[in-house]
């Protein structure tokens, strides 16, 4: 494993706004302990919020009759909160296998778009590092990683580090949820349900560049709002992303 021998001073004091210009730069993307540590530390407060949802998932899993081991296995290998919660809500006897697996796929399809957004940096990593890191990708740590990359840092291990933080809290809180049952109460009581929105709002505040963001953002917003009314699950995220990409291609084509 290479180490991050170079400090990030070279690209830390960004001249531009860390946009397309540095994507094409010849500088390599590092993958080392510093990136893992930085990702982990940055993500811990966010992961606490994820834990609030892990408890809620554990409670639901317990109600439908999953054992501690089964619920923990699901959290440990699937690592995708929204789809797990929907899956246990669909749970019945006999288990509707096809419905659960297809719904899981549909809800998580948005991750393909998130993974695609990481490509300008991840294409510089080895396949093992890139695809290994993606196992740990969740909404929250994707947002933090995107933010780190856009700030001009080139720490390829940030997604892995922040993902490990999410994974530990997600799996740990699942155990708590199954064992504690309904004794803990709703995540909304502690504001945990607002963590995802807060992280994404913070990222939006940073991603806004100038008026050139306006057209794709409005395309995404409009499409997502309409699609959320028309389609179940999380299709609106995928459709919003596609609409923005299309709008930008048309805008630049003119």
């Amino acid at each position: 494993m290479e180490t991050d021998s170079e400090t990030d001073s070279s690209d830390g004091d960004a001249v531009g706004n860390g946009d397309a210009a540095d994507d094409r730069g010849a500088e390599p993307v590092t993958f080392g302990r510093e990136g893992i540590r930085e990702g982990l530390v940055t993500c811990v407060p966010v992961a606490v919020g994820v834990g609030g949802y892990g408890v809620a998932f554990g409670v639901l899993a317990d109600q439908v009759g999953l054992s501690v081991a089964e619920a923990v296995l699901m959290s440990a290998v699937v690592v995708a909160g929204a789809s797990q919660i929907v899956a246990v809500e669909l749970w019945a006897d006999p288990i509707p296998i096809a419905a659960i697996v297809i719904t899981t796929f549909a809800i998580n399809l948005r991750y393909s778009l998130m993974g695609a957004a990481l490509q300008p940096w991840f294409k510089r990593l080895s396949a093992a590092k890139a695809y290994g890191s993606l196992f740990f990708m969740a909404d929250e740590n994707w947002a933090l990683t995107m933010r780190d990359f856009r700030a001009g840092n080139r720490r390829g291990a940030f997604l892995l580090g922040s993902g490990i933080a999410v994974w530990i809290f997600w799996v740990g809180s699942t155990v708590v949820g199954v064992l504690a049952g309904g004794a803990i109460g709703e995540p909304a009581r502690y504001g945990f349900d607002f963590v995802l929105a807060a992280v994404f709002l913070a990222l939006a505040a940073e991603l806004w560049e100038d008026r050139s963001s306006l057209v794709p953002w409005l395309a995404s917003l409009g499409t997502a709002l309409v699609a959320a009314e028309l389609f179940p699950g999380r299709w609106y995220i995928l459709l919003g992303g596609f609409a923005a990409a299309l709008a930008e291609v048309i805008r630049r084509g003119r």
Partner: protein, 105 residues
């Protein structure tokens, strides 16, 4: 009861593993596909707006389904972010203010 807690039914394990496989396919699919097709100017244009577009697509319906408490807390998060650029401070502000505003409103 310990036996119950640790029990792993084969069918359940099978469903969980199938969920894990399709989820991993979604997480890796986007990168896999992009690594295999040639990058054109159009594709780069599309990719450059993707992060912001995803963020907005997640936030739009999420905030639309909320109320004054969520909107107020959302404004505070953005304000703190612009002033301090600290994600931790913005996050804490958001969570604390949403709890307080829900109690008040």
């Amino acid at each position: 009861m310990v036996g119950d807690a640790l029990s792993l039914e084969p069918v359940v394990v099978g469903v969980v593993l199938a969920m894990a496989v399709v989820t991993y396919a979604t997480k890796t699919g986007g990168l896999w596909l992009l690594n295999r097709i040639e990058t054109t100017e159009r594709l780069e244009a599309a990719l450059s707006v993707l992060p912001g577009a995803i963020v907005i697509a997640v936030l739009g319906p999420e905030l639309a389904s909320g109320g004054p408490a969520e909107w107020g807390a959302g404004v505070l998060v953005v304000a703190v972010m612009w002033r301090t650029e600290s994600i931790l401070l913005a996050l804490c502000t958001g969570v604390v203010s949403v709890v307080l505003l829900r109690g008040l409103l």
